[in-house]
């Protein structure tokens, strides 16, 4: 770990200001991902701004009948929230499918969205990785890439986004609220937070420097069933091979792309009366395999179809 300086932010405005003004600054919330990466010198921030104690931990009703989730609400608290459990069960299911209880106790809503890939070549600093060291190449491309992306990948990066929670939030049509260093509050669909890798996989979101996620807003729950399913090699505390969140007519896929993947093609096919299988086939028509991950296309198709059918209550 490199030496770094640390400050605890007084309020969100001070946090974003400090983040914009201090070279090499990063926000620290639960620390469940950032600190691990710092120990391995994958992340080498010069300055940490601790936002973990900012008063952004509330989960409150919105006038529209949805929920506004403060970005510092812990994963554990959010999954256990009675309103979430009853109205957004897919979110609770997704959160408890991720990490371990200890991690979920520390991890925050905002931090969960910004966690970084679990790609083995990102973690091993002796290997090339365009995400860790832009321009160095992609070690996974011709490597042991069984769990690489099948949608939206590029030659620069085939890493996946590992969050479970984000997949459910995308299916729920969540929006993100942020605070920018100039004091501007922004609000946009969560679907637009993350980027595909393209030629710059080191740039993972559309946030500007110093911009802080302050909340995630859920619209009223959609009509219809909600289901989260995740496939993994072991029953808990394992990165997923694929996941799917279904909320009414909306479908999102996880661990298959550089971002939580809104399955728009599948949704359109379902709206047009297609079967779950046909809907998933439509979505995955653009999927491509790299080396050893071809099974994920089949797996995702089957998993998605099963989850859609389960949400419909037809299976």
């Amino acid at each position: 770990m490199r030496p770094f300086t640390y400050e605890r932010a007084r309020d969100p405005q001070a946090a974003v200001k400090a983040a914009a003004e201090t070279p090499g600054a990063r926000f620290l919330a639960g620390g469940t991902n950032l600190l691990d990466l710092m120990k391995l010198e994958i992340e080498r921030p010069q300055h940490l701004i601790d936002v973990g104690r900012l008063p952004l931990g509330q989960v409150e009703e919105t006038p529209e009948g949805g929920l506004r989730i403060g970005s510092m609400a812990s994963n554990t608290a959010l999954a256990a929230d009675a309103r979430v459990r009853s109205r957004y069960p897919v979110l609770t299911q997704a959160i408890v499918a991720g990490g371990s209880p200890q991690l979920r106790n520390k991890a925050t809503t905002g931090g969960n969205l910004l966690q970084r890939t679990r790609c083995a070549y990102f973690y091993d600093t002796s290997k090339p990785c365009n995400k860790r060291e832009p321009g160095s190449g992609c070690g996974a491309l011709e490597g042991l890439n069984r769990n690489a992306a099948i949608l939206g990948a590029s030659h620069a990066c085939i890493a996946t986004h590992p969050s479970d929670m984000a997949v459910a939030l995308v299916a729920l049509d969540a929006r993100v609220e942020t605070l920018a260093p100039d004091g501007d509050a922004r609000e946009f669909p969560l679907m637009e937070l993350h980027r595909l890798p393209g030629e710059t996989p080191e740039v993972e979101t559309h946030l500007i420097r110093g911009e802080l996620i302050t909340a995630v807003v859920l619209p009223p729950p959609p009509e219809g069933g909600q289901v989260y399913r995740k496939v993994r090699d072991r029953a808990s505390y394992a990165a997923g091979l694929a996941s799917v969140a279904v909320a009414g007519g909306r479908v999102a896929l996880g661990m298959v792309a550089h971002k939580p993947w809104r399955a728009a093609e599948a949704e359109a096919a379902l709206a047009g009366g297609a079967s779950p299988e046909a809907a998933m086939d439509a979505e995955l028509a653009s999927a491509s395999e790299t080396g050893r991950n071809g099974f994920k296309i089949t797996l995702t198709a089957r998993l998605g179809a099963a989850a859609i059918a389960e949400a419909k209550g037809t299976r």
Binding site: M1, P3, A120, S126, D233, R234, F295, L299, R302
Partner: protein, 752 residues
């Protein structure tokens, strides 16, 4: 020299008068461990504040270091030294054994410019704090001349050669016998590299007390660690005082030492202050040994009614370039089933990988994953129950040596297990049972693992309070050594457990081989019994000759020991009062046990039967273990609780081997892909359903004076095969490439 016949004579342990033997006694050191107050090597408090050493692992697998730039590291805050092969302190050349009886040769660190495997420690930083040492370690710049590593095991199977000094073992005429068999099976299984993943990484703290190097480390065997360090440092063996009091898992990976111990000793000498060195979790994967991958070809020939006529396992495996370790995955089959024509052997490939070495049940853990599935396949092909097929081929005597078995209750394990597990509810036709979305199947496998006994010593003391202290250069790697030694001492001297102290893990104590090969309890325990018997005699003689004792005049042979009281008929006094009066400084005696001269006249093993029920999700190919039962025959059980933990721990590892666990080499870099416990998948709580291990009530009076056998490696042997057979019963396809992950199983199900 004793004879096996002597083992059948009664002794306090087999008499078990106070009933301590066999009881589920709590761990002797348990409270220390669960409260975090047991000092593991890295946590031992040294006599003065320590410095910290951090190793820099090589980032290539094969080549030479052609330039070193340590300037930035040396200038980094708190750094006291940066060592590479260019400036490392002098050590004995590799393999030196100055003292002819050293149990390990020298293992110098940073010895030359050659890189032999990815992760080899190639530089070392000493600093005032761990953080400063770690930060500086990242600043050491090494330039390599890289050679393409030769690491592709599966690509080079044809190049494999007979391990040096070994020959295939053939009985009868295998080729002819197999060719003429009415029913045949010829299939190949693959097992991956596995890493030990002990909870406690390898770690050492060392300081110098005058000319003596005092070192606390984490190692399974005390004497080789002490001797190897002394040879490396070119000092007398007595000038190394090595301790290993608490060990957070070994599994064979700590049967040897690594560079942490040498660097701690050298660093402490250089700085004149204590030095701590530990491997990081990531570095453990490459910097220490692993269980090598295997490819096993199994051929079985049988009559239509299930009599095996020919049997063969041929294993191909790998080890490091300059090594010779062979994963003997075929050996166990030599004693398991009867068949007139038999062929077993091994082939070895040398690769530019880290060292291959022993891991829990070396041989059996990999090998039983093939043969015990092959037996399941053969049973199905013959329309037989897999248990009945095994019983039909149960040998009367060892099928290769013709020696009698010391005690073999394999059939009883299978029959009792079948009844307890509900085997009769298994539908032999696969793919028939469902529970919700899960397809459910049952499988079983036999277990066999050799039983061994080595020479060992121990000392026993009694003090004026009647407290017995056992001292032995034994180790406890989480198995229960402390506890079983306390039980043996308490039973032998007739004192309550609370009046027993156990001191182990110290090179200055009477030597014992340590923990490995599931010989620990029998070896250490037999020596403890011998020492305890010597102490009984010394106490009896003391009482018989002490005019102040009611036992004065003896006869010494008639003295009994129970509840802290010594007695001859109705004459008695407390042990404490005798010692306080007649030997206030206490008594200390040694004892020793050496294996009986005729021990090799018996074929001696431990046995078991595993039963497993799994669920497979037909949509995703995910397998989850639902329930598992093992029934084991391993001689007399000293401690029901610690033995059961050993067995269930082994079974859990078997579940891992079948479903999740393994590592893979990236052939471009010669490195392993899984480098932490988030990616190297050992089971978590949620992976293990209902699990139980049952031990038959037996005693093997050919094994040792205690009648006990090992359990540490039996539990994993065959366990994974039961899981694999259950998967087949659930879904009707076989995956012979472990672990059986969703991608492989779903692929096989869809290909059907």
């Amino acid at each position: 020299m004793s004879s096996v016949a002597d083992y059948a004579l009664p002794n306090p342990v087999t008499d078990n008068r106070s009933g301590l033997i066999g009881k589920g006694v709590d761990r002797y050191e348990g409270p220390l461990k669960v409260t975090g107050s047991a000092p593991y090597a890295y946590e031992v408090t040294p006599p003065s504040p320590p410095a910290y050493g951090v190793m820099v692992p090589a980032t290539i697998a094969c080549g030479r270091i052609i330039a070193v730039d340590a300037k930035a590291a040396e200038a980094s805050p708190g750094v006291a030294a940066v060592w590479t092969h260019l400036n490392a302190p002098e050590q004995a050349p590799r393999g030196t054994r100055v003292h002819p009886r050293s149990t390990a040769p020298s293992r110098p660190v940073l010895e030359d410019d050659r890189v032999r495997f990815f992760g080899q420690p190639v530089a070392f930083v000493l600093a005032d704090t761990l953080e400063n040492a770690q930060a500086a370690a990242h600043l050491v710049q090494l330039t390599y001349e890289e050679q393409t590593p030769d690491v592709d095991f599966h690509g080079q199977l044809a190049k494999a050669e007979q391990p040096p000094g070994e020959e295939d073992v053939e009985i009868g005429d295998f080729a002819n016998g197999f060719a003429q068999s009415p029913a045949k099976l010829d299939e190949t299984w693959c097992t991956p590299i596995q890493n030990h993943c002990q909870m406690e990484p390898c770690a050492s703290i060392a300081w110098w007390d005058g000319e003596t190097c005092v070192v606390h480390t984490s190692v399974q065997m005390v004497k080789p660690a002490q001797h190897g360090l002394a040879e490396t440092l070119k000092i007398d063996r007595d000038a190394v005082h090595l301790m290993t009091r608490y060990i957070g898992g070994g599994f064979g990976g700590k049967g040897q030492t690594y560079d942490d111990i040498t660097l701690a000793a050298l660093g402490a000498r250089f700085l004149g202050r204590p030095v701590k060195v530990a491997y990081s979790r990531q570095h453990m994967m490459h910097g220490t040994i692993h269980r090598p991958a295997t490819v096993q070809r199994v051929r079985l020939g049988a009559t239509k009614d299930g009599q095996l006529t020919a049997m063969s396992i041929m294993t191909t495996t790998h080890c490091q370039r300059d090594g010779h370790f062979t994963e003997h995955a075929s050996n166990f089959a030599r004693s398991l089933y009867a068949a007139p024509n038999r062929l077993t052997g091994h082939r070895l490939i040398h690769l530019d990988l880290p060292g291959a070495g022993p891991m829990r049940a070396p041989g059996e853990a990999s090998g039983m994953l093939s043969l015990e599935c092959a037996m399941d396949e053969l049973a199905e092909a013959l329309g037989m129950d897999p248990i009945e097929l095994r019983i039909k081929n149960e040998p009367e005597v060892d099928p290769e040596t013709g020696k009698p078995f010391s005690l073999r209750q394999l059939v009883r394990c299978m029959r009792e297990g079948a009844q307890l597990f509900g085997w009769d509810r298994r539908n032999p036709r696969p793919g028939q049972a469902r529970d919700g979305r899960w397809m459910v199947g049952m499988g079983m496998a036999a277990a066999i693992r050799g039983n061994f006994l080595l020479p060992a010593k121990a000392s026993f003391s009694v003090d004026r309070h009647g407290v017995i202290t056992v001292r032995q250069g034994m180790t406890d790697i989480g198995t229960g050594s402390y506890t079983v030694l306390a039980q043996i001492a308490a039973e032998t001297l007739g004192v309550p457990l609370a009046d027993v102290r156990v001191e182990i893990g110290d090179s200055e104590l009477p030597p014992a081989p340590g923990s490995g090969g599931q010989f620990g309890a029998a070896t250490a325990g037999s020596a403890a019994l011998a020492a305890g018997m010597n102490l009984r005699k010394a106490i009896a003689d003391l009482a018989a000759n002490d005019p102040g004792s009611p036992l004065h005049g003896g006869p010494a042979e008639a003295v009994t020991f129970q509840d802290g009281v010594i007695a001859i008929a109705n004459r008695s006094e407390s042990l404490a009062s005798l010692i306080a009066r007649a030997a206030p400084e206490g008594l200390t005696v040694e004892g020793e046990h050496r294996p009986a001269a005729d021990a090799r006249n018996w074929s001696q093993h431990t046995y078991g039967a595993h039963f497993c029920e799994v669920g497979v999700d037909p949509v995703t190919g995910e397998t989850r273990m639902r329930r598992m039962l093992g029934v084991f025959a391993a001689g007399r059980i000293i401690n029901y609780k610690t033995a059961r933990s050993q067995l269930t721990g082994g079974m859990i590892w078997g579940v891992a081997s079948a479903l999740t666990e393994g590592n893979a080499v990236d052939p471009r870099y010669g490195s392993l892909v899984n480098q932490d416990l988030a990616s190297y998948l050992v089971p978590v709580q949620a992976d293990i359903g209902e699990l139980d291990a049952i031990m038959l009530d037996e005693a093997d009076d050919k094994a040792n004076p205690l009648g006990i056998k090992g359990v540490g490696e039996l539990g994993i042997s065959g366990a994974g095969a039961a899981v694999a057979n259950a998967i087949y019963n659930a879904v009707g396809v076989r995956v012979r490439d472990y672990p059986i992950t969703p991608d492989k199983l779903l692929g096989a199900m869809l290909a059907r």
